[in-house]
Point group: D3
Chain length 277, copies 6
């Protein structure tokens, strides 16, 4: 299974914090060789995400536990659908159960909410993107869940994207000097995005050659004007407490991207249970 | 600052995933010695939690960054209240900003929701407790946030509490043999809790000497009968998709504890921002 | 193999400290493909403990090394008995040999001594339990060895048991306020144990509802009175430089538990060797 | 404080295993700002070892805890002597107490036993050296304790010394080819030691130019002959279940070194307590 | 000191591998409290890089060692110039000496060679950039050294830049489908670079909207034509065993960037010594 | 595969720094199940080193990737020779490609240069040895590469060899007291090497019983006299900016060892590419 170090670290941390020094109940009560079987079942409808994490959890806990997966990440399920089956020694299965569910419920919650928002804007070409407002330790997985739900990723972290905000502008002495500094010093492989709050800032960013212009906390009418002003010479990104109520309206302003922190910072877990039989 | 290894690990992981190979924007645009000042400001009302994590984040990023805290964990704030001030090199402050906010918004979200639920049941002696349905990697911090909001903690993990569930009962051959095995094999320092779904199971657990009896997915009338049956000889815990709509009714059944997974698995981040000036 | 992170960490640390930058003798002297076979043989009588650690050591050093186990943890052996056979590349076998033996000799020493003490108190219902006076880094394994030898475990660490000592009592302003604070603030899943040194403290702890009462450094007569006073309303634990000379007398006082630090802090390794043929 | 990574790792592991998710008793019972003072007191006579480890433990747990040391490693104490004083927040002091004591009692046990054996052989020039039979994870510290007690160190691990044993000899086809291979392939900075069991092997090792000859499980008379045979052309090391009963006799055979596994594999902890006042 | 986790990890690893279980010579020969003073002196001319790493090394080894720096990273020195002074306990200074020098000599070697190449192309606007052909573990530091010497950074790793190579093109079914897939699936914050080997591929990449076009292993005449064809609609990057002999000619083709693996994969250490006095 | 912890750590670090949060190009452009095949081909002549590292890299990245090796470490290749073949999922192969090549090119560069220097001194019995002037994090691998190329290893680090330099001599009060202190305090298993700069120091070291005498920065005539003076009573090691131009002359002075920092601190990578077909 191909995973990066961030994912392995958070899975290991989750197992450490849940296992502590061992599953005292199972070890005291269940005979060593007891085998159990169970099914992961959706208790709600939504988009499943995190199956490879579930497999990895049990691989780390007990290589002997077998998981048979019936669907794949990104598939939509309804309440009652069987997602996967599991079989193995009770000690292995019960030791990994809660951690596996915590991951899958959280990631499926994000994928499901993303999918719901994507469907709200129907055939629009506006892309819904995530932010850096993620749950500590889960950045890579949460961004994967956003993609699984049909959304798109903004930069992953401070090192793989340039986003010039008001502090940077103030420190550099203006939008143009800030953009010039970024173009001179940062790798040429990164686009330059600038946060703007007024139309005159949009013009300034455009003149200085920004690749992406963030329209921060603008009303829809102002965004529409900004989009016209930019006229395809840069990408435009709507930002600032975006929520589902105005998403379709925002899409109709013509912006290319809308970024939504709530996708990852306010997650409702999808209800999934592991039933033994 | 006194922290355990779980907290240090998740803070380090959060910094690693957000910093990547470095803050390319600030490093390219902001002069090396630029100093900035800012204020953490509540944008919503709620209970603040996570200030020591915020301090630790900046201690790890840049020891020179100074934070002056105006309130303490557990204090209630309203929109516009200043939580803390920060001053330091722009590189340090901006490198830690997002991680610090992600922690404080998440934990304050949990504390605030817990406080809201606690206030719902007013003078009741029923304790609202958390579960193991926490966000991976954040177990210790999330349980701290529940306490900060006025709730109580159930067991932290599989090693510091005995909770005999249906699988254990099945594997042991009944409630009584399961409790006997736990009493014989597990440390005497741990109470024995048993999950029950019917009144006859409650009676069985009681007869076998359970210390805590979980009443799982019972309606309020059944719980009331269970509480009468137990009559103080064990603690009782209501469990199973508890939510705010029936919380006061549950409190009136007389159960000692109610456990709520949603406290930690479906968190709405509290809105807090860092404004520079 | 199902192990928790503490066990994996100490095995890795033991291998790191013994291998350093590599086995310079074997690498310089033994041809790359030399195969060797050997037998782990008891040189003394006792109770074997740590076979899964031995397997894990070689799994980490060289997956190709094969171990055939003839007995299982907890089995009693006599001098000359073959415990296991090993076969593999000389480099793998010789690199893991010393670490594997160091673990097995240490853990078998603990299991054997525990078994000896348990047999001393014959049919008594008093349980011999361990303490937190363990060798740094080996807590989980040493407590496993105590169980393997027929003893029982006290709390594993500071987070999975409540033990109110004289400092806590002094800080809280008395036994009753200390117990009340613990009952109010700590998880309900943990019993409350109180350390007492006099009969009046025993009475005070009892009145305040302690679940377990530690009788610290009391003479046998005082302990007998304490047990009578408690009369089954709490568990009693004898503590304080207990040793084999008075163990049977202590058992006859009627206490439920006796805790012995020497089980784990003063270990005589069991003599086991790996003989090649 | 100057420490190597092995020492830092075992201290961190010891703290992790003892703190778990936090000190539930102190956190529940003791007010946040309570200060306590205590004294580390010897309850037995012996040689103290591990004071810098004690300091490091509290530095990691709570930098605010202050330790005033009255003696230094290697000093001899008697029962009742004050070793050090400690003062700080109760949470910090109590969280580190057990771990600090476990280290100091274990290391002082080794230093004391080593000192006792060294004094047994009085003015002899024979050096008592340790082995690789150490407690897993504590290699560097235990070998430091042996030196603290007046003993000497053999090689630290497999990479910093050449010791050709019977397996190596067999694989290489004899003592001479084994020594030749080591001389050709291993760094010139390491001496070559060979394990011998007979006088003819001693002669063979000597002829092949061994720097150190281990006399394994020989009786004293044979060792005396071996020493004569070697006649200063190599160092001689007595080995094989050496114990205090024959130590003086061994010294009189004229061997240069005697290695004793029991120094580190069968340790009796020195009795030291932390008394609060 | 503000450092990211990659830098801390490689410094720690370098210290671990050089200290092993401790500096046996110094510990055996030099009295515990001996203080020494020394100077880091350039033995060659070049551009210094890595002073903050030197400081961090000694901070980790012994906080008491004091370093006074006379120049800063990027300064040019001549043979005999004093770079910094150091004073502290001999044990601390000697334990960190070699590791500190190994870092500074390696990084200064890269900075010096980069500066030499930059000066070769005089007033040209072509930027000399690095590659991913770096020494394992030193990526972030080596790229910092390239910047210190006046060069520029290409992408840091596989996650912060898009570079479509021939395998990607083949797998996607052509340059256009590959670029379309990248534009659709990758974050909008990253530019799209395509590797081309012929002018027709250049045209294809241009038509598909590539942001950067790599001209791989082309002769100078072909590159000149490619630059004309691109005509400012994308950045152009010369690549493929570039070396100093043809660098000025390459600059005159008009390409924007030239990437050179040898900057980091074939480093000649700058000669720097630490002289004690 | 038998590896020590230093090697595993540097491989993991190299993968972390190159993968970041994932291979964005391949993940965006290449279908999930695309299989690719390729050949590692020498682009230059030299001695290959690092094949087991290459295997380990892919084992960590994706266990499904298969590598078929056609030669073994130490074999000489010419430009165009196929070193190994690789086949697997494009995501696995491309994720590990650069890291694997970076290791193999670096280590083969060292092995090739060592082999070249060894051949320069033809039938001489002088051994070419490495130093501690290695690339941070790569010590164990680089020293392995030196052996692979036909050279020899000096001590690996500060803990597995005694080398008394001028600072030690000054601190101890002379060569004789320094050697005496080392002989008294350090393990007997290590030889004692002393750095000398004059013939009178050579004599002093010899008189005090040094096992190895380093002749530092002496001209060839002085070294010849030193070798005569030592006359086989100790090993002699030429040191100090040795390079290929005078290597044969140095060999003819009769010294036993010559140590060369440039073997590892100034490495020219061997040109090796991975060609897909």
């Amino acid at each position: 299974m191909l995973m990066n170090s961030f994912i392995e670290k958070i899975i290991n941390l989750a197992l450490e914090e849940d296992l502590g020094t061992g599953d005292i109940t199972t070890n005291s009560v269940v005979p060593l060789n007891t085998i159990i079987k169970g099914r992961f079942i959706a208790k709600d409808s939504g988009v499943i995400c995190g199956l490879s994490v579930v497999k990895k959890v049990f691989e780390l806990v007990d290589k002997g536990v077998e998981i048979t997966v019936y669907i794949k990440d990104g598939d939509r399920v309804n309440s009652g659908d069987v997602i996967a089956e599991i079989e193995g020694l009770a000690r292995g299965v019960l030791s990994g159960e809660r951690v596996a569910l915590n991951f899958m419920q959280h990631l499926s919650g994000i994928a499901s909410e993303t999918a719901r928002l994507v469907s709200l804007i129907g055939g629009s070409s506006m892309k819904i993107v995530d932010t850096r407002k993620t749950t500590p330790g889960l950045r890579v997985l949460e961004k994967y869940a956003v993609k699984t739900g049909g959304g798109y990723n903004h930069r992953m972290n401070l090192s793989d994207g340039i986003l010039i905000k008001d502090n940077h502008i103030k420190a550099a002495g203006g939008i143009k000097p800030a953009i010039d500094a970024a173009r001179q010093n940062a790798p040429q492989t990164l686009k330059i995005e600038v946060e703007t709050e007024t139309l005159s800032q949009v013009q300034e960013a455009l003149d200085a050659g920004a690749d992406i212009i963030m329209l921060d906390n603008m009303d829809n009418q102002t965004m529409r004007e900004a989009v016209n002003m930019v006229n395809g010479k840069a990408l435009t990104e709507a930002s600032g407490n975006m929520d589902q109520r105005n998403l379709l309206d925002v899409a109709q302003t013509g912006v290319d991207l809308v970024s939504m922190g709530a996708l990852t910072h306010s997650v409702k877990a999808m209800d999934i249970s592991l039933k033994f039989y």
